[in-house]
Each structure stands twice: as C-alpha cells, then as structure tokens.
Symmetry: C2
Subunit: 294 residues, 2 copies
C-alpha cells in the first residue's frame, strides 16, 4: 500500500508512524513544502521517500495534514492527479469550506472528509507521537459522497489506528467544534496575553503560577500558522461563541461589582457539573478501548 | 509536636499526611465543622484525634486550611487561645484582608501568613495527595511581623515538605495572584458555562471535545465554596484582570470581524512565547529539586 502524507508535521508524522505499526505492507511517501520537515521525517523514519504532488498518480492513500487554507488549494490538485481507486482523506479542523470547494470535482467520490480530535499544542515532525489517534474520535463528514469501497478502506485504516468514528454534516461539525475546540484556543491565547502584558517586567512573578494556570494557558502555545486559517474559515461560528463567552464574563463581572456573591456562587455551582461531562469523555474513552480491542 | 489542622480537606489533609512522613514525633489533631470530614480524616489516618478550637491551648503548630471568609472569623479566635510558643500559619489564597484583620491582635507575632501554590480542582479529605507541596512555592507575607523563632519553626516544616519560599507583601500578593490564578478560574468557569449552555440538549456532542478542551475547563470543576470568598475578598484586583481579559477578547473579535487575519496571527504569535515562561516554571521546579534535596 503506497501512502502519501501531505504535511509531515505532528498529525501527518503521527499518522505515518501508526500506519507503519499497523500494516506490514505500507510504503510511505512524504510531501511537504518545508524541505527541513521532509528531512526530519526521513531521519525519524516516518517516511520512506520524499515525493512531489505529481507522484500521487501511484498513490493508494493520500493523507492531507496541512493548515486548512492550504488544504483548500491543494485538495483539488490532489484529486486531479490521483487514480480512481485512491482514497484521499484529511485532518482539517474546519470542514464546510473544504467540502464546498470540491463539491463538483469529478473525483469527489475519492475524498473522505475527516477530522480526528487528536493533537497537542506542539507542531512539526518532532512533535509526532506514537498512538496519537488511539481511542480518539474521527469525525467524518458527508460520508455518502465518498465511494463505498473507499469508505471501507478508510474505516479499515482508522480502526487499525484505534479511532472511533462519528458521522456529521460539515455545517454542524464547524458549529459544534467552534464551541468545544476553537473557543478554548482563543480563551487560552487571550488569557496568556492578559497575564503577559501585566507581568512583562516581572518575569519571576511566574513563580506564583501553579499547575492550574499552566493547564488553562496550555493551548496558547499552539501554532498561529495552523490556527489563523481555522479562525478565518470558521469566522461566523467562532465570533458567535466569542460573543457568548464575552457576555458570560461581563455578567460574572457585573455580579461581582454589585456584590451579588450568592449569584457568583451559583454561576460556578451550575457549571460544576462539567465534571460529569468530562468524566463522560473518560468513560467514552474506556468504551473505545473495548470497542477497538482487537 | 502537637499539630492542629483546622480544615481537613485537600490542603489540610495533604499537609497532615506529609508532616507525618517528615517528622517522627508528630501528633495530629483535626478540627473541622464538617463532622464527616473529620471521620474521613480519621479513617484515612491523616489525623490521630478529633479536636475543637478550645483544645488549641496545647498546640505547637496550627495550620488553617479553610475558605478565606472562614479564616477571617477563625484566625483571631485561634490567636486568642494558643500559647506564646505556638506557630499559627495558613494556606489562604488571599492575604491582604486576613493580615489586616489581625494586624493589632496581641498575638500577631504568632501568625505567619502563607499561601502554598499547590492544589487541584478537587476538594475534601479524599482529594488529599502525598507530596502535594513538594517543589511548590509557598508565598510568605509580612514575615517581619512574625516572631523570629516561629519563622524558623515554620521554615523547618516547609522545607521538610519540600516547599520553596517567596516573600511578598500582602497587597502585591493579591494583585499578582489575581492574574496568575484567580482570572484562570473565571475564564475556565465561563468557558464551561458557554459550552454547556450551547450543548445542553446535545450531551453526546462532547464526544467532539479533546484534551485541549478538557485542559482549558479543568478549573471549572473547582469548589464554589472555596472560590466565592476568594473573589469577594480580592474583588478589586479580580475585576481589573477581568476588564483587561474582556478587552483583549473583544479586540480579537474585532480583528476577526474586520478580516484582519494578519493581526489575528500576530496576536497569537506574540503570546506564543508563553512557552518560555511555562518552561521557566518547569526549570524552576527542577531547581527546587536541587535546592530542597536533603
């Protein structure tokens, strides 16, 4: 099986790694605009060969793991080149614009729109992790538009990597993911900004920061190169989440100003049941272990 | 050494645990309004005896680990009862009001104001952790107002538990901690609220949430009972941090609305160096290991 990884960073590198562990007959080609990423990926052993887009005509599988603005430009070109039996899938965090962009492509049936809920705040080939996708959800959009045989091929790969599958339409995906992922990143970046601005001349003040602060600003280490196009493509949804978030913060501030601390208590108390939701995630992960155990 | 722990929750329980490991001659008494906490602490073996405030006259050390509004009421009573040689210290997250409240107490010299930057989002005796304070910073305020001999006793205990000491005046403590701790909690609670409100009828949507979301909302599991009085006591500082945070979020939103995505990129890029700051925390923790190694 000839697999082409376009974008040999954290996601592409981890995908290549796990694919090699799961399938004995896999030959992995790397395509990346950044020559140093390809060199790193070769040294790390993620890929067997460097390649270019024109080589894709021999591909059995193409995995697109590049920023979402680049995907919009590259995906149609990929579809132009690949054979009729080639599966093309991706890892982009926004789905509506990408799906729309190739809606009328003659090879639409070769493409399966995916978004694995996996990653870290780091990037590049050196950030790749073994088992990154294990027990993680891969959201598949517009599955009905992909050739049935290629859906099967994709599921075989995703299951081998330990992923769980959820089906969703692209608009719902982008709306929900704005809440549970994109907004978290902005809240974290702006928290980091607020604290850095205040404490810029007193660096050692960060001695005062504990694990709570570190946890809350962790996502502020994320790559602006990856996140700027996500916010651009999902602008409408992200702005809506931001409006609601800002409004909730202002309300909390007003309660404090008016000394309504019973209501401040109640605000926190009502949100406390996020515990159950987060425990739910853990439970689901345990279920995934059973489901995927094979 | 007779040690009285007032408040046998996460902090008090962990303190008792580690004290027992560090000192062979320690006898631990628990004082708690919640009878079931005392029972749990006895069963877990944190404390040797249940006690009441009136028993404090035999205490060598008193550790106050209760919500900050309760501390203001309890600390003067404690000082009224203890002997001249007894060290009284605490773990409260706000320091100015508490220090002011006992400024003129005849036994002011028995009290050392402390704030260990340690804890988790959980609470109660069952949340106590062995080694919770190891390599953590304990902020000491108004050290000059504590009897020298009792400062020495306190440092011996804090060092035995593996803590690193930072000295700071109460007003600076409250101002800085508003940024690096209190604001994180509000940002996390309001993020949790925003997402829960949106997704309340679609619980399974949390399948879409990854480790990034879990990390960012972790603090929204914290106890309202502990945090409401913190926000009340540190109202002025916390409101200032909230104003700056809301203003940064609004600016980000405006940049998105105006399609100024170069500036959106730049906002994130400038905050990215929080990496170095957080790495600094890790480095400091490594240093602490060396410093405290004994």
């Amino acid at each position: 099986m000839k697999v082409f990884i376009i974008g040999t960073g954290l996601i592409g590198g981890s995908f290549a790694n796990d694919l090699r562990s799961a399938f004995s007959d896999v030959e992995i080609y790397g395509v990346d605009e950044k020559e140093h990423h390809l060199e790193e990926a070769l040294v790390e052993g993620f890929i067997d060969h460097k390649a270019e887009l024109s080589d894709l005509k021999v591909a059995d599988v193409v995995y697109l793991a590049i920023p979402v603005d680049a995907s919009i430009k590259v995906l149609p070109k990929v579809l132009d080149i690949v054979s009729d039996d080639c599966l093309v899938t991706d890892a982009g965090s926004t789905k509506e614009q990408l799906c729309n962009s190739i809606a009328d492509h003659p090879k639409r049936r070769n493409y399966l729109a995916g978004h694995p809920i996996a990653g870290t705040e780091f990037s590049g080939p050196s950030a790749a992790i073994h088992g990154l996708f294990k027990y993680k959800t891969n959201i598949i959009c517009e599955v009905e538009k992909t050739a049935f045989q290629l859906q099967e091929k994709a599921l075989e790969i995703f299951h081998a990597l330990g992923m769980r599958i959820r089906y969703m339409d692209p608009a719902s995906h982008d709306r929900h993911i704005a809440y549970v992922s994109h907004l978290s990143h902005i809240s974290s970046f702006m928290l980091g900004k607020t604290v850095l601005e205040k404490e810029k001349n007193e660096r050692d003040i960060f001695d005062l920061a504990g694990s709570g602060f570190a946890s809350t600003v962790r996502l502020a280490k994320s790559s602006p190169e990856m996140w700027t196009p996500i916010f651009r493509q999902n602008k409408k949804n992200v702005m809506e989440t931001l409006d609601e978030y800002i409004s909730n913060l202002k309300h909390f501030r007003e309660l404090m100003e008016a000394d309504k601390f019973d209501e401040v208590y109640s605000e926190m108390d009502k949100t406390n049941h996020i515990k159950d939701v987060l425990n739910g995630i853990t439970k689901t992960e345990n279920l995934k272990i059973q489901e995927n155990g094979k």
